[in-house]
Amino acid sequence: METTRKSIRKQSLEKLYNLLSASRKVYAPVIAPDKQVEYKYNPDFAEVTFEHIRSTLSVKNVVFPKVENLFFYSNAKTESTITDIDLNKIPEIVLWGTHPCDNAAFDILRSIFSWDINDEFFSKRFEKLVVIGLSCHLSDEYCFCTSVGLTPNSAKGSDILLSRLQNGDYQAEILTEKGNGIVTLSPELFEPISGEEVTVTEVKQKFNHEQVTVKLASAFENRFWIENSLRCIGCGACAYVCPTCACFDIQDETKGKNGKRYRSWDSCGFGLFTLHTSGHNPRQVQSQRWRQRIMHKFSYMPERNESLGCVGCGRCSSGCPVDMNIAEQLEALQNI
């Protein structure tokens, strides 16, 4: 559908939020007492922050929860049974105030979960998601959305994109039918645009991702990986805070005879990830795992999933205990 632009006053935004929050699950960012930015379901509007650069964790959990039950079973030797999960019970979730990088990540996740064979757990959750995005008027040294084909106010992935106007009100770009559905809940809150300028932060481009992809095609054996991953300690922080990392484990957990099979977040940074039962490990050392992380996102995914596996949110780098700065490394890779 054609995008329409409206303006919405700060007070009207509160009304809209309360209206949504009264009738459905709204997932919105708040600043926790320890200063970490986290998402909560239906916090009071007064708690909701419009001033965050990035939440500690991404919001991928709304479509790819850290633990997802795949089915329940009863193990009774000859008479074992399986009980399916009712995916129709997945509730509608309104994401509130997520930034363009996080919103663009959903389509990347879709490119993985619908590759060849469709994963209903993801697609049902994705279907039920409404995204009210918020352009960035703040950024920091870790942001690099402009290097991966996005901008601080890209509309990709949003159903409605809010952008702060200079007078403190907001511009609302209504981008999809889902977004239109939100507007129709209370059309009077959306007023004609005032001509006021939007306030958008500037994010400097650090590298050209297309050139990086070209370079990576012949970089597998490069010394770069060993030299630049010496300080990587092999934790899963980067993968778990990443909005596009989708690797998972599948496990069973039983109590008595009954149990569930679930999938949970996993990380290519772990040695155990590829370890064979025989003891053989195709990715034996950390440099091979770090290479996999970058190659997967910037070389394999563009070719196999037709999407770049990164949105430039900077979480992996700001959350890394030893400053493995991915933008810095990609910039270097562009020039090898």
Binding site: L70, I112, W115, C247, P282
Partner: protein, 278 residues
């Protein structure tokens, strides 16, 4: 059928063969006859076998698609799931998801000689295609099978080895590593590459299918090359660790190639293009 791609078929263990002290073959029958009817697979494909409460384990379907109504799998007790599988009894339920992955291009092999070379527990991934081609015997010329194991007791499918040996239209050579023979052993004694070199089969109009431990592959490849086999006429399977089986969980890739989707069957020509990550 549910849209839940992680939900396995329920299978009943119809038969158990103890191949060696730690290797078992299960014959699995679909508990639901509708599932049995809709199910089909091709030689080379694999699945996820599960014991509820212990998890899933990946191995190939070891029976031939020409044998309908059941599937068979052969596994070695090694980790959590295979140990749990080994403790099951006839009639017990296991889960099976699949088939996944690509297949041996047996149509392309029609009219050619087939040379199967397997070592140890790597005969099972090949057993499916061996039987498949034997069951379509008139489409292929000579069928030769070289199978080696560490010792006589490590040879799997002993019953079938006997059957193949007795068939005039199949040439079977079995061998055990030096020291692995028994006084009654009538087969060869020596490593697979040496046995192959001694046999020296012609590479003319022949496809070689090679599965075995890395060390066997390493020493067998030069012999095949010496015999004149071209990379495109040598096939093998890769067996990286997997969870989902359909390209989402992210652990089986070798470079950009996903073993679960692009494999597990590869020609040696394709293998040479892969980075060293398997």
């Amino acid at each position: 059928m549910s849209d839940n791609i992680y939900k396995p078929y329920l299978m009943e263990i119809e038969n158990i063969v103890e191949e060696t002290p730690d290797v078992r073959t299960f014959r699995l029958k679909f508990k639901n006859s509708d599932d049995a009817e809709k199910f089909s697979f091709k030689a080379g494909q694999f699945g996820e076998y599960s014991v509820f409460g212990e998890g899933e384990s990946t191995f190939c379907v070891a029976s031939s698609p020409t044998r309908k109504g059941y599937i068979e799998c052969t596994f070695r007790k090694a980790g959590r799931v295979t140990n749990a599988l080994a403790n099951l009894e006839m009639g017990d339920t296991v889960g099976f998801r699949g088939p996944y992955g690509n297949t041996f291009p047996i149509e392309q092999w029609e009219g050619k000689n087939l040379l199967y070379i397997a070592g140890g527990i790597a005969l099972p991934p090949m057993r499916c295609v061996i039987w498949n081609t034997i069951d379509l015997r008139d489409k292929y010329k000579d069928i030769t099978i070289i199978y080696g194991a560490r010792s006589v007791s490590d040879l799997v499918y002993k019953q079938e080895l006997k059957e193949w040996e007795e068939r005039p239209d199949i040439r079977l050579i079995t061998t055990v590593d030096p020291g692995g023979q028994t006084p009654e052993w009538k087969g060869e004694t020596g490593f697979v590459p040496m046995v192959l070199e001694k046999l020296a089969p012609s590479s003319e109009n022949t496809v070689a299918i090679l599965c075995g431990p890395p060390v066997m592959i390493k020493f067998t490849m030069p012999v095949l090359k010496k015999l004149g086999f071209q990379d495109k006429d040598i096939y093998t399977t890769l067996e990286n660790r997997m969870k989902c089986g359909f390209g989402k969980c992210g652990r089986c890739n070798v470079g950009k190639v996903f073993v679960c989707k692009d494999g597990p069957v590869f020609s040696y020509e394709q293998i040479l293009l892969l980075p060293e990550e398997f």
